[in-house]
Amino acid sequence: MATLDVQNVHTYYGNIHALRSVSLTVQDGEIVTLIGSNGAGKSTTLRTISGILQPREGRILLDGQPINRLAAHEIVERGVCQVPEGRRIFSRMTILENLEMGAFARKDRAAIQDDLARVFDLFPRLKERIGQKGGTLSGGEQQMLAIGRAMMAQPKVLLLDEPSMGLAPILVETIFQTVQEINRQGVTVLLVEQNALMALQVADRGYVLETGAIVLDDSAANLRENETVQKAYLGIE
């Protein structure tokens, strides 16, 4: 049974049909990436899974249990946590307060302290600036904070929306290494990226989304070799 199973999901923004029967699965412990151009519906897919949007048709199963009718906060409680696009850290809160907000849904105080230490292991730079306001951090640090904050919710499945957006290449590299590290620690990852090259390097499998529908799905290695993908997303002629 797949950890995350999205079945024929249709999502609308008002009358706009944004997702047309999207189906995808993420197995336990995998990194799966969803690539595609602007407006293809990548973020919409993530928002539908995390409950910020409700699908009009189709089902989303987490470990076999339907979650598509649940509110966003209930989905977080079940272990699916999203790092939203554009990071959306709490800019007037300090790093520590941001991370504590990440653990909002949890009650196990001792374990929260352990996870805080774990996040600081992943991102030592956050520890250096524990009292600094989120809004004064650089883009890369904000992305680290956004990922760290999501990790504080102890997710089974981490949904990452464009973690490379607006970051210098060297930082993108760091972020992706951390994503792999998080995955090694047992977190299943669904990664939405425009930077297809990076995404296909870290992912096990990938889906290609075009105008709201999945057009390709294969192992990341095969997708890297696929001519269409190379032309459209990897810039290889």
Binding site: M93, M101, F104, G131, A150
Partner: protein, 440 residues
């Protein structure tokens, strides 16, 4: 003041370190400038103590003793408030009759601060809940009420609690349709509620006696002794007690889990939802708890005046309450308390005093034209002018919350010691600013 001088010179750099550790271990924000500066001092300055000592000595003392100074200020304030009736009589001010409504408005401003300051939901119709609180008590106790006419007159204390609950329920009822709205749209809908509610009371003549109002309204009592409308001093202490209780509760709310949820929601709703915060519940609780304190306020106000009609709750009340919140420092309980007192004094005391003074001047030869000036009529204009000045000179309020201060006055948050990577130059620049700012 004395103890500032007597503290050894090298304390600031040392004192900054525990402040930072405190922030890490107990999970609380280092509140206010003192904490922020202490962390900044520890980070930027500890390696170069002599320079820091020279650069910021006087200011650092001011910052570090802020908490102590606040405590002293609070004690002075509390004594003043507790002894006010004596002071008032001793100095012959005769302002007790104005102090009571001022305190009620402060209570209302504190309730509004929950909605606007804590949860970030701009509510322009808060007077609606004030009216609901007042009318609940009137409905339960006044002789014009159909309920009372059928023989169900309620005790004031019970009515007070009922008003609290009813206002909270209406907070949910009026909050529910606004759940999907933000910012301007929310403001417009709440504005409409602020108009609809008094109009409803005006037109439900069978229940509320319409424009003729309801009178007399039940009074608080202890045993057989009733508080008369003319007994201003006991009223004062009663309202003060309710105010103190409300401050206690609101202060606890602010630091609670719910308070943190409000703060997160105010900052970013999507992120808050991604953290597992139930937005519906959190918003409705803000509306409901915010409204409930105005239920207290309305009940006290109606009972104190012994009279209620729909015209007491017009739009200017909502705006004045909002101005109290903004003036004092949105989101900061103590700031709002102070802003409320200031605006209340302005509204109920100072304008009138100034008007009387001008009138007395007009008896002098050559100043006769002043007799035509009545400041009471231009109260709202003065009020608007004061707000404009305030926004220009001190937009964060008189006592801003720590966060707003940081936002509006340039971050005084901790700045890192060393910054590896590509952001180095930017942070160096910031650090330079920080030190320069500190030495000012």
């Amino acid at each position: 003041m004395d103890d500032r001088r007597s503290t050894p010179d090298d304390r600031p750099a040392g004192a900054g370190v525990p402040a930072r550790e405190g922030a890490g271990s107990d999970g609380r924000p280092t509140d206010g400038v003192a904490g922020g500066m202490a962390v900044a001092a520890a980070d930027t300055v500890s390696r170069d103590v002599p320079e820091a000592r020279r650069a910021t000595a006087s200011q650092r003392w001011a910052e570090l003793s802020e908490q102590r100074r606040n405590r002293v200020l609070f004690a002075v304030f509390a004594i003043f408030v507790l002894a006010y009736p004596l002071i008032d009589r001793g100095l012959g001010w005769n302002r007790m009759g104005s102090m009571n409504p001022i305190l009620v408005f402060v209570l209302l401003a504190l309730g509004l601060n929950i909605v606007v300051g804590f949860a970030g939901l701009l509510d322009l119709g808060y007077a609606a809940f004030f009216a609901i609180g007042g009318y609940t008590v009137a409905f339960l106790t006044a002789p014009q009420s159909p309920l009372v006419q059928r023989g169900f007159q309620t005790d004031f204390w019970v009515a007070l609690i009922v008003a609290f609950v009813v206002a909270a329920v209406f907070g949910v009822i009026l909050g529910a349709p606004t759940l999907r709205l933000r910012g301007d749209y929310l403001a417009i809908v709440t504005l409409a509620f602020g108009e609809i509610v008094p109009r409803t009371f005006l037109n439900l003549e069978g229940l509320t006696n319409g424009s003729k109002g309801m009178n007399p309204i039940g009074r608080p009592h202890a045993g057989d002794v009733e508080l008369l409308a003319s007994d201003q001093v006991p009223w004062y202490y009663l309202i003060l007690a309710i105010l103190a209780f409300s401050i206690f509760v609101i202060n606890r709310l602010h630091g609670s889990r719910l308070g943190r949820a409000w703060m997160a929601m105010r900052e970013d709703e999507i992120a808050a939802a991604s953290m597992g915060i139930d937005l519906v519940k959190t918003k409705l609780l803000a509306f409901s708890l915010g409204a409930s304190f105005s239920g207290f306020g309305g009940a006290m106000y109606a009972s104190m005046l012994q009279f209620i009609d729909p015209f007491q709750f017009d739009f200017s009340i909502s705006i004045m309450l909002l101005a109290m919140v903004i003036l004092g420092g949105i989101g900061n309980l103590w700031g709002v308390l102070f802003g409320g007192l200031l605006m209340g004094a302005f509204n109920f005391i100072w304008v009138e005093s100034a008007a009387n003074w001008i009138r007395s001047l007009s008896t002098n030869p050559g100043l006769g034209f002043l007799a035509a000036v009545d400041l009471n009529n231009s109260k709202l204009m003065l009020f608007g002018g004061a707000l404009v000045l305030m926004m220009l000179l001190r937009p964060e309020g008189i006592f801003p919350s720590a966060q707003r201060k940081a936002e509006l006055k340039g971050a005084r948050a901790a700045i890192p010691v060393t910054v590896p990577g590509i952001e180095e130059s930017l942070h160096d620049a910031r650090q330079g600013e920080q030190v320069a700012g500190g030495g000012r």
